[in-house]
Symmetry: C2
Subunit: 115 residues, 2 copies
Amino acid sequence: MAYAEVLSALADPTRRGLYERLARRPHRVGELARLARLSQPSVSQHLRVLSDAALVTHERDGTRRHYRASRAGLDELRTYLESMWDDVLAAYAAGDPAPPKKTAPKKTQMTRAPR
Amino acid sequence: MAYAEVLSALADPTRRGLYERLARRPHRVGELARLARLSQPSVSQHLRVLSDAALVTHERDGTRRHYRASRAGLDELRTYLESMWDDVLAAYAAGDPAPPKKTAPKKTQMTRAPR
DNA sequence: CAACAATATAAGCCATGGCTTATGCAGAGG
DNA sequence: CCTCTGCATAAGCCATGGCTTATATTGTTG
């Protein structure tokens, strides 16, 4: 159920902004903080969430860390979306015209045209 | 930017649960409340969020309303994901091996947080 | 080792949002 | 017309989470 983490990670606008920067090119933590006008700790926290969701990876470079976007998290979410898509289509194929009345019919039900 | 609403709508587990039920088949509000073990107002609120994100639609049936999942919201999100996917791939193609050391010798640095 | 640099973690503050109960409102039927 | 049913909206409570400052950790360098 990793898609859940991906969804909540990308739901936050600030975090999504960071991710979108990383999707274009790798950045250092300090760089992101400056560009996004956030404190460095805040960026670190967001990066941890993105990392837990497999949306980013990082490499050490001395005392610095280069973060970059990863495909893994996106893939998780895409798979989930596709299964939902399939369900929705199947549901339409099954009961398209109008939802049936499920309540037990009381007595003589007069079928009237709605509206 | 409708994908933002879709992301935050699906980020909540309860709301996602409701959406997944609707993806399988249409439901009435009271049905959802009973199945999800939530109060009816809570379900109504979730349905409003899902509706604003174009993830569900509804039809009136007397005093009842039949909600069903819609493809529109999913499509918004899928489009966004694909553009992110493309960005990530392009970034890898551009600077794959290792992020270059870009730091020129400097002297000024300030770590300050904006207010 | 001392001093500095870059990032991570800790702790606390505050707004957001999800849940509940109470209430409003429209449609169906006696 | 009155009432009941099914849902929406209002109001308030409380936990979650994102932001900040302060501090710890790790690596580099003289």
